[in-house]
Amino acid sequence: MKKDCAMTKDAEMKDDIRFIRARQRWSTDNRRRNAMLTLIAVGLVCGALFLASRFADEYQIRILNMVAIYITLAVSYNLINGITGQFSLEPNAFVALGAYSASLMTMTPLEKEMNFIIDPCVPWLAHICVPFLPAIIIGGLTAAVFALFMGFPVFRVRGDYLAIVTLGFGEVIRVVANNMQTVTNGPLGLKGIALYTDLRWTWGLALVTLFVIVRLVNSSYGRALKAIRENELAAESMGINSFRHKLLAFTVAAFFEGMAGAMLAHLITTISPMLFTFFLTFNLLIIIVLGGLGSLTGSVIAAIAFTWGSELLRAVEEPTNVFGWFTIPGIPGMRMVIFAVLLIAAMLFWREGIMGRKEFSWQWFLGLFSRREKGAKIV
């Protein structure tokens, strides 16, 4: 009996070893395959965008640009709120910081002189003029540096307090932008920013953001962030320094949000403090909630759906003619009511959102097509 048992154990072990080797081979193969597929997908997206840039009209290209900017913003916002589980309400601050710092970099001294009509611009800014790429990076870095300093007081509180303190920071940034006449031109804002942003820039940034954040989430840092989300105390007792990890997530997110802000400024070419109210954060909040708090894939899908959807919803604000019989008057402001109802309804009835916490994987995608692989459950 005993001998029997030992023999089976031995056989089992051999089996195990064979299985593990097979799995290793399989997973390297898979990784190669997945990388290829991802590259192909990126290629397809680029091809589609190239076609769009040739044949789509200006309005559609503008929506495509906004889609990419919202993808960048939503994915980085989800890194803090969904992956790390630190519910915060500050992206409008980082977007504003990025937008203002990048615009002040790219504007020529002449344009600055024309903008700052009430008070002249401070001398150290008045004569700077740099190309777009360094300006974007400066925009991102400004937001990141600010996030780093902001993180120290902010991450000493948790939960609801974190939400309200970060909301407060967003307001403070807006108030400062409204009042620092010599730096931000106050409530007048900045006009005549060069139109540098096009599809290459916005989608390039969106892809880079996705690449970096997906890699971050799948690294040991990402697992630590998720551990903090699930149970901060347990994570701490496993040796994870939760403060440093939160700060890391916050700074990385702020960097990308700042760059997205820079893109936004050079797309709409006119910025003012009114643009960066809590409303912007609210839109992003709807996106990440609908996409699923904690799913980057969900954020991408929801960002696309939200941006297109909010354009389609413009119909409710314009008069609609029903078969030429009568006209339904448009109700201005109705879109925001619909968004608010959408958020409440999602929270009450559909808290998972589109993706919950699941992510897109090629394994799952291919499984849709081949019946054979559906049964195979090798991870």
Partner: protein, 295 residues
């Protein structure tokens, strides 16, 4: 001269602070019981001013009757929001309720933008609140004095309700331990509904006094007072009704003094409350009069 100026600003600050305090009571009671920041509270206050406005202008009610009707309607609105939006989420993670509260706040703001329009409307200031009184060198609008007196009177009412009635006892019990309370035969939902109704009615009084002070109303008027009242509640110690009023006074006075003595900083007035909030949370998270709440 300076002492006069100081006293003048002090009474202005007290007037503003009472308004913050009245709104803050609602925040602090809801937070004390549900651990939920009711983001929509400032907008509930805004709705109350519109109720009163239509009571006066459309239904031709005398101002005090309009105020009473507005209080009742606002209380009803508060209870409806709780039952419709927050009650299904009692067992959900707390963040879900917070997100819903943000949604409700946006909903109220935008529905009123659609229904009432974004144009500010003039608000009626009754005869007894109009005279301007002079005490020595100080000039005060009678409304400011009445506001402070009404706040102090309501504080007594709040004290009686929270510490001398069965409902108040139940409220305090819920804030200590929500799980045990239903086991003691107390209807949890009634207690929570009462809290929302009571807090909203107080916010209605604050809102109507606010509207009489700046005599105009608009759909987004609730945001900033709402946030500042929350800061006042944290400053005073969240969960403590007296703390909320004290925090309101401190916030109102410091804000007015800041603007009065450093006029060049007046643009930063709205940022100041948040800096204060951050400082409080850093150095004394429980506020001035607060005790540690169970998480």
């Amino acid at each position: 001269m300076t002492i006069h100026l100081f006293l003048q600003q002090l009474i202005n600050g007290l007037g503003l602070g009472s308004l913050y305090g009245l709104i803050a009571i609602g925040y602090t009671m809801v937070y004390g019981i549900l651990r939920l920041i009711n983001f929509a509270h400032g907008d509930v206050m805004m709705m109350s001013t519109y109720f009163a406005f239509f009571g006066i202008s459309v239904f031709a009610l005398p101002w005090w009757a309009a105020a009473l009707v507005a209080m009742a309607l606002t209380a009803l609105l508060g209870i409806t929001i709780d039952q419709g939006a927050y009650r299904p989420l009692r067992q959900a993670p707390r963040i879900s309720a917070l997100i819903t509260a943000i949604g409700v706040s946006f909903f109220l703001e935008n529905v009123s933008l659609v229904v009432f329009g974004s144009r500010p409307r003039p608000f009626f200031r009754p005869e007894i609140f109009r005279p301007i009184w002079h005490f020595g060198g100080i000039t005060v609008l009678s409304l400011t004095v009445y506001t402070i007196l009404i706040t102090l009177a309501l504080l007594v009412v709040v004290y009686v309700v929270v510490y001398k009635t069965r409902m108040g006892m139940a409220m305090r019990a819920v804030s200590k331990d929500m799980q045990t309370v239903p086991l003691m035969g107390i209807d949890l939902n009634r207690v929570i509904a009462f809290t929302f109704g009571f807090g909203s009615a107080l916010a209605a009084i604050g809102g109507i006094l606010w509207a009489m002070k700046y005599p105009q109303i608009e759909p987004l008027m609730g945001i900033v007072p709402g946030l500042k009242a929350f800061v006042a509640a944290v400053l005073g110690g969240i969960g403590n009704v007296f703390g909320a009023v004290l925090g309101g006074f401190i916030l109102g006075i410091t804000e007015i003094m800041l603007v009065a003595f450093w006029p060049e900083l007046s643009g930063y007035r709205d940022a100041f409350a948040f800096l204060l909030l951050i400082l409080v949370l850093l150095f004394r998270p429980t506020g001035i009069m607060g005790e540690d709440l169970p998480e």
